[in-house]
């Protein structure tokens, strides 16, 4: 082995703690960077990947069956620029009813024998594909899918001859959203067919102009007027991007924090490792090593443990990313199988590059020192630094070991500042993640709050409910049973009614309410709750889309009758993409006198046992054609994923921060080992030594915590508000304001905990150090 090799090997082996710390810090930095980078990639282009995986349709076109034949449509697949086509699929628009529940609304159904195909390969997410007439598969992301409970339901099409029934046999995902449901082609004839659907892929479809050109080429091969409607994949992608945008601010924040932490800690660790070797550099130069050899030796000493750590971090990052990606696949409809290779490569190159540059700069500086100066460099900090702090702390009425330790950070102000920053980042990450989880939970809690739901129908067994068509509950009797039940605090009766307004195209949904507790289900962000008919409360998207504000009056059309309604409040309500209107039932009864509540949200007095209450009320409701349903209390998968990721990333950041502190304490303790020997020779007991080492990180921990806690709070409020805006909603203050000041102080003290955790390992070592050995260390 060459002399340089021996120097490198001994350097790596001699400072084992530092070598391990470098390896661990780099490993965790790489793990968090791989995870953050992967999530960023997964969240910024999920639609494009899913579109590619499912061979999505660049153009979904509808044709008038009276003007074009199936054969002509099949031939249109050979139009200029068309690279693939599926269809023609016969289509029909159905208006199904679901038992005695409110109408579902029109739904486009395509007759399609197979889910697979060269264009728009539909993916089944539940159940199976329709194999015979009488069966339907629903678009799983559609508003009518009804989740897993939808499979097995029967829809009756009462407006069609013979009132045919369709059993929902499966749910499927179509990235192009080509239909709301699919049946076998022979079923369409019974559903009043209204045309054909063709799905096209073009050789070039990256821009609107290219898609338009493709559409024109297709239309040119068909009779004039045959093409009645079409939808570009770019429109679908734009809508999908809105959902992904919800995640982007969150992931970017974590990505930036993670990368900043990695740069800070890795830089600090490497620079510290090289600077403590200055005396050794002097020895090497005295022995004849050239400055270049010295620099190469220290570069290698940093890169060897860093490379091992980076590889371990890469393995860990890829392992952790796999289950996380499977969850994001569920949310985004993608089928990503692992970390993108370029993410691995970029992280590896970035982190090792950072290590190399930091080591190079520090080692070059040391290498340029005159040999005699390098040899003269002691292990203790330069005289004069931090003496003011030592004088000040000496006067604090605390045990002397503690006051000695408190002054230590001021002897190395730059290093202490980087550790303050690391602790601040770690604390901010924890405050951010806990606050974010609380915010997301409050988003869930902020709408539709009710303890118990009462619905029309008949319970048959514990988990099965029959909602026979045509039956309706006795509203007055049901309400009487609810109010008579012990434990009832209040109720809100609701019924959904279609309305429209000139400011928005298409039909809107009004949730007409009765009862004095309806405001309990919503969180207002502006204005007041309605106090009588002719008033309504809407969500931010309604105001944005209609260009109205609280205080404005809007004309709603209900049952063909115009009604002037004043907007009195803005509430957080995501129903119907935030376009649902909340208004007293009396606002609409002039136009629809038959309107009665179909559901009741029931609010219980505090301390009431919900299960016991529900069981008793169920018995009372059974003869009245109603039953107690489940109040929606589950947390959506996307929020669970965000919470999981937040916890994981926070843990990584806290670990990096603690390792950074550990490394600083390693450097400090090694630099001060001789002083430590003097202290012990003068009678400093092991417990006092531990107290001194712990005290040396208290100041940095407190300052880091004091900076990190408000920074985390600010980040949480900014990111959550940004996430809300990305989705088009103004969030209630209760969603943003998740911290009590006292809780924030406790989290601020978390910085101290991170610092003490990092210092504890070395404090024990310092306490055990042989005094005679330490005294010999110069």
């Amino acid at each position: 082995m060459s002399a340089l090799g021996r120097v490198v090997r001994s350097g790596v082996g001699r400072r084992r703690v530092q070598t391990v710390v470098i390896g661990l810090v780099v490993a965790i930095a790489v793990t968090s960077s791989v995870l953050g980078g992967t999530l960023l990639v997964a969240s910024t282009a999920p639609f494009d990947r899913a579109f590619g995986q499912q061979h999505g349709a660049h153009l979904t076109a509808h044709f008038d069956a009276t003007k074009v034949t199936a054969e002509q449509l099949a031939a249109s697949a050979r139009a200029a620029g068309v690279s693939g086509a599926a269809g023609p699929f016969p289509t029909a628009t159905i208006d199904p009813g679901d038992g005695d529940r409110e109408p579902i609304g029109p739904l486009l159904v395509a007759g399609r024998a197979e889910p697979s195909g060269g264009v728009d390969a539909v993916t089944l997410t539940r159940g199976r594909w329709a194999t015979k007439p009488g069966e339907i598969v629903l678009f799983s992301d559609g508003r009518f899918a009804g989740g897993s409970r939808a499979v097995g339901r029967v829809w009756t099409l009462e407006d069609l001859p013979g009132a045919p029934a369709l059993t929902i046999v499966g749910l499927a995902r179509s990235i192009s959203g080509t239909a709301g449901g699919w049946v076998v082609p022979e079923q369409i004839a019974a559903l009043r067919p209204d045309g054909y659907q063709m799905l096209y892929r073009f050789t070039a479809a990256g821009t609107g102009a290219q898609v338009d050109a493709g559409r024109a080429a297709v239309a040119a091969t068909l009779p004039a007027g045959a093409l009645t409607a079409s939808r570009s994949w770019l429109t679908t992608r734009q809508e999908a991007a809105g959902e992904a945008a919800l995640f982007v601010p969150f992931l970017m924040a974590f990505g930036v924090i993670g990368l900043a932490m990695a740069v800070l800690i890795v830089g600090n660790v490497i620079a510290g490792a090289v600077s403590t070797g200055t005396h050794r550099i002097g020895v090497l130069k005295a022995l004849g090593f050239s400055p270049g050899q010295v620099v190469r030796a220290h570069l290698a000493q940093a890169l060897i443990p860093a490379s091992v750590g980076a590889l371990l971090g890469l393995v860990a990052g890829n392992a952790i990313a796999a289950p996380v990606l499977s969850q994001t696949n569920d949310v985004y409809g993608t089928s990503d199988s692992g970390v993108e290779p370029w993410v691995d490569a970029a992280v590896l190159a970035g982190v090792l590059g950072l290590v190399a540059v930091t080591a190079l700069v520090a080692a070059s500086r040391a290498g340029r020192l005159r040999t005699v100066d390098a040899l003269a460099v002691g292990r203790t900090p330069s005289a004069g630094r931090g003496r003011w702090a030592a004088r000040l702390t000496a006067r604090i009425p605390l045990p002397r070991p503690v006051t000695l330790g408190l002054a230590h950070p001021f002897a190395r102000p730059v290093r202490s500042a980087t550790i303050v920053a690391a602790i601040a980042f770690g604390t901010a990450a924890v405050v951010f993640s806990v606050g974010l989880a609380a915010s997301l939970q409050r988003v869930q809690d902020a709408e539709g709050l009710a303890d118990v739901m009462v619905e029309a129908g008949q319970r048959e067994g514990r988990d099965r409910v029959e909602r026979p068509a045509g039956t309706s509950m006795d509203t007055a009797a049901v309400l009487g049973a609810i109010t008579a039940q012990a434990g009832t605090r209040g109720y809100c009766g609701t019924v959904r009614a279609p309305v429209s307004t000139p400011a928005l195209t298409g039909e809107l949904e009004a949730l007409a309410t009765s009862g004095g507790n309806c405001a309990d289900s919503y969180r207002l962000v502006n204005g007041t709750w309605y106090t009588g008919p002719g008033q309504m409360v809407v969500a931010t998207p309604f105001l944005t889309r209609t260009g109205t504000a609280v205080g404005d009056t809007v004309t709603l059309t209900s049952g063909g009758v115009p009604v002037a309604v004043r907007i009195v409040g803005e509430a957080f309500n995501t129903e119907h993409d935030g376009l649902q209107i909340l208004t007293p039932i009396e606002t609409l009864t002039a136009a629809q006198p038959q309107l009665r509540p179909r559901e009741f949200r029931v609010y219980l007095t505090p301390g009431t046992d919900v299960t016991h209450y529900s069981d008793e009320l169920d018995v009372a409701l059974a003869p009245l054609g109603a039953f107690v349903g489940m109040a929606e209390r589950g947390t959506p998968e996307a929020i669970l994923i965000i919470n999981g990721l937040t916890a994981l990333l926070s843990l990584l950041l806290v670990a990096v921060a603690a390792l950074g502190v550990l490394n600083t304490v390693v450097l400090e303790t090694r630099e001060r080992v001789h002083d430590l020997g003097v202290h012990k020779a003068l009678g400093m007991a092991p417990r006092q030594t531990i107290a001194m080492v712990i005290a040396s990180v208290v100041v940095t921990g407190l300052i880091g915590g004091a900076l990190g806690a408000p920074a985390g709070l600010l980040l949480q409020r900014t990111i959550v508000a940004e996430m809300g805006w990305s989705a088009g909603f103004r969030l209630p203050e209760s969603v943003l304001d998740t911290y009590h000041p006292a809780t924030l102080v406790v989290f601020g003290l978390g910085g101290l905990v991170i610092a003490v955790l990092g210092a504890l390992l070395l404090a024990g070592w310092a306490a055990r150090t042989q005094t005679a050995t330490a005294l010999r260390t110069e």
């Binding site: 005289a383 003496r387 020779a681 400093m684 007991a685 092991p686 006092q688 306490a767 042989q770 005679a772």
Partner: protein, 225 residues
């Protein structure tokens, strides 16, 4: 007061630094340990100070079995019984002279006010009180060693251990420290002085123990020299 019985100290596989050393020192004696480098002088001093433990044998000081003490027990023992003066002073550069001197007392739990009074008294006695608020780096070698002696005497130790106290000083400063140690002994202070400076030993010690290869080669009273 001090009794080393059949003490051996071995480091690794090499020859022992001390082998079967037995030595008794009475209170009030000033004993110089002489010998060439590697003879075991500093090892003997470390064993008496409780900074190191013998591989075999026992070390007792003022009735305390130093060799059996725990780390915490050793610290308490040093605070209560021992004052140490080193060749390179071992003053803490980031503390003022007064803070350096007060440190052993404060580690022992003495209040800052009481420690300040005691330090001022000692610095005055040793003639370096004008440097109380200065940092050690600004003092001459002799002054630094006087400060180190003040620190060693802070807790009124029964035993003063000095390891080559003039080894890093010029001759004038060395003579100054030599006089200081002689005066302390004249006041009844028990001293063990490790040196290879025969003149220092002759001036300060009432007894000379010469070590060679880890064994006592000679043990001579001052009057017999």
């Amino acid at each position: 007061m001090i009794e080393l019985r059949d003490v051996t100290r071995r480091y690794g596989d090499g020859p022992p630094a001390l082998r079967d050393v037995s030595l008794t020192i009475a209170a009030g004696e000033a004993v110089a340990i002489l010998g060439p480098s590697g003879s075991g002088k500093s090892t003997l001093l470390n064993l008496v100070a409780g900074l190191d433990a013998p591989s075999a044998g026992s070390v007792s000081v003022a009735g305390v079995r130093v060799d059996t003490l725990s780390e915490a027990g050793s610290a308490r023992y040093r605070r209560a019984t021992i004052g140490m003066v080193f060749q390179f002073f071992n003053l803490l550069d980031d503390l003022t002279v007064a803070d350096n001197v007060m440190l052993p007392a404060q580690l022992a739990g003495m209040s800052r006010g009481a420690a300040e009074r005691r330090a001022a008294e000692l610095l005055g006695t040793l003639g370096v009180d004008r440097h109380a608020t200065a940092y050690p780096g600004r003092l001459s070698g002799g002054e630094r060693q006087r400060v180190a002696v003040a620190r060693a005497l802070m807790n009124r130790p029964a035993l003063l251990l000095a390891d080559e106290p003039t080894g890093a000083l010029d001759s004038a400063s060395g003579e100054d420290v030599q006089r200081l140690l002689a005066d302390l002994h004249a006041d009844g202070q028990t001293i063990i002085l490790v040196t290879h400076d025969t003149a220092l030993a002759n001036a300060c010690a009432t007894r000379t123990v010469r070590l060679a290869d880890g064994r006592i080669a000679a043990d001579t009273l001052a009057g017999a020299r």
